[in-house]
């Protein structure tokens, strides 16, 4: 297996569904951050067969990890400090999503107003339903899977 060096401070996102790492890279806006990122695709996993892993070397408070709860809460989030795993973050559905998903309602103001944030609120945690802040159009995350 490919070896990537240990982090001193940051996060390791493990058990990412194979092939999803680049999407997560984008959701976490890692392309805009000036930090060291390692993406491992199709790593062997006893549990999943294949998996992706992302390692990010940066202060933990610089990352908005809540969005991972929306993308796939099976992902394991290891918090690293001084080279050691100090915590595992439990992923929950975020109460609010900003510019993560887009409203599909052609009658929504977001379809014409330039520069407007796409904002969704968690309307039903049990059914995993989000609604657009502006028009209340429903968005159900189909990518989320139960543990």
């Amino acid at each position: 297996m490919l070896n990537v060096g240990r982090l001193n401070e940051g996060v390791v996102l493990d058990h990412i569904e194979a092939g999803k790492s680049m999407a997560i890279y984008k959701y976490l806006k890692l392309d805009k951050m000036d930090c060291c990122v390692a993406i491992i695709k199709n790593a062997h996993s006893n549990k999943m067969g294949k998996k992706d892993i992302i390692k990010v070397e940066c202060p933990i408070d610089q990352l908005d990890l809540n969005v991972l709860g929306f993308i796939d809460h099976r992902i394991t989030v290891n918090i690293i400090q001084d080279g050691e795993i100090v915590a595992k973050k439990e992923l929950k559905l975020p109460k609010k999503l900003v510019n993560i998903i887009s409203c599909k309602n052609p009658r929504c103001i977001t379809s014409i107003e330039q520069g407007l944030d796409q904002v969704f609120f968690l309307a039903d945690e049990e059914k995993e339903i989000y609604r657009c802040q502006y028009c209340e159009e429903k968005y159900r995350s189909s990518s989320r899977k139960k543990k």
Partner: protein, 306 residues
């Protein structure tokens, strides 16, 4: 500073105060005739409206204020591509309060986020129409004598009918209200109202296709128009537009005290022969609409009249 986007922006107690104020305005119009002197209402109507716009303008004029605005997107800077957020920033420099109607859902909310004056949602696409709801509540309270303990039938376009969505959200806060939702399959209530509002609040409701099956048990019948402008396909509109027609013959099935409401404009869904029936209160509703908008303007401008 407060805005009005949804009827739920006001608590039940605040709504009571607003409706009491509207009732007092109805009883003593002279007392309020100069309450807004020197104040300006901007009516920003990006899609056609007769009743709502004129009702707002009449309300402000009755209060001694003045009005300015536009009545279609073509006659505004929207035709040049100006955003809602830019428009409201500019209008905030010209007026003290504004009422906005827009075909895009959520446009008044965007305006409120960038406005330095109170913004009233005067209808946004098929989404919300809170001042119609205030009108409906005042009409029901004044004509029925109570808000609560009745069975209301909502009939027609329940899918795109924003007045229905807003009214349901407002009424669930009052006790012992039973809803009968009367619509063709294609125009049933959207699931976000059925599931998130009715079911979530354990509200009693049932769905019917035939108006005749619901009429005998109703204390109130709220008719709505099938709106051509909400359909992408003209064929669908033509198929749906005359699905319900309330006439004298059907009314024989209804209780003698049942009230008939309609947000207007009416097309074919209520035959003109019904207009003289004492149960028809839809034209009175238009008058109540002016009183309640006067009360709303006073409330949002924080004008107190002693």
């Amino acid at each position: 500073m407060r805005h009005l986007m949804s009827p739920l922006d006001f608590s039940v107690e605040e709504l009571d105060r607003l409706l009491n104020l509207a009732s007092d305005i109805k009883s003593n119009p002279a007392k309020y005739a100069h309450a807004c002197e020197g104040k300006k209402l901007a009516t920003l109507f990006y899609e056609p409206s007769t009743r709502t716009r004129l009702s707002f303008e009449a309300a402000m004029l009755n209060l001694g204020g003045s009005v300015l605005g536009f009545s279609s997107a073509d006659s505004s800077s929207a035709a040049k591509g100006e955003s809602v957020s830019d428009t409201i920033r500019v209008i905030s420099c010209y007026a003290d309060i504004c009422a906005m109607r827009h075909p895009k859902e959520g446009a008044p909310l965007v305006a409120s986020m960038h406005s330095s004056i109170p913004v009233i949602n005067a209808g946004d696409g098929g989404h919300q129409h809170p001042t119609q709801t205030l009108t409906d509540l005042l009409t029901i309270r004044a004509e029925k004598g109570r808000l609560g303990n009745f069975t209301i039938g909502l009939c027609g376009d329940l899918k795109f009918g924003r007045t229905v969505h807003s009214l349901i959200k407002a009424l669930i806060r009052y006790p012992d209200i039973r809803f009968v939702l009367i619509s063709p399959e294609e125009l049933r209530l959207p699931d976000y109202i059925r599931e998130d509002v009715l079911r979530k609040n354990n509200q009693s409701f049932r769905e019917e296709v035939r108006l005749e099956d619901a009429l005998p048990e109703l204390d109130l019948l709220y008719m709505t128009r099938v709106q051509r402008e909400r359909f992408f396909n003209e064929e669908d509109y033509v198929r749906m537009k005359d699905f319900y027609i309330l006439d004298k013959a059907k009314l024989t099935l209804a209780d003698p005290d049942m009230l008939i409401l309609h947000p207007l404009p009416r097309v074919n869904e209520i035959a003109t022969e019904v207009d003289d029936d004492p149960r028809a209160v839809y034209f009175k509703q238009a008058q109540y609409g002016v009183y309640v908008r006067m009360a709303l303007i006073l409330t949002l401008l924080e004008v107190e009249v002693c």
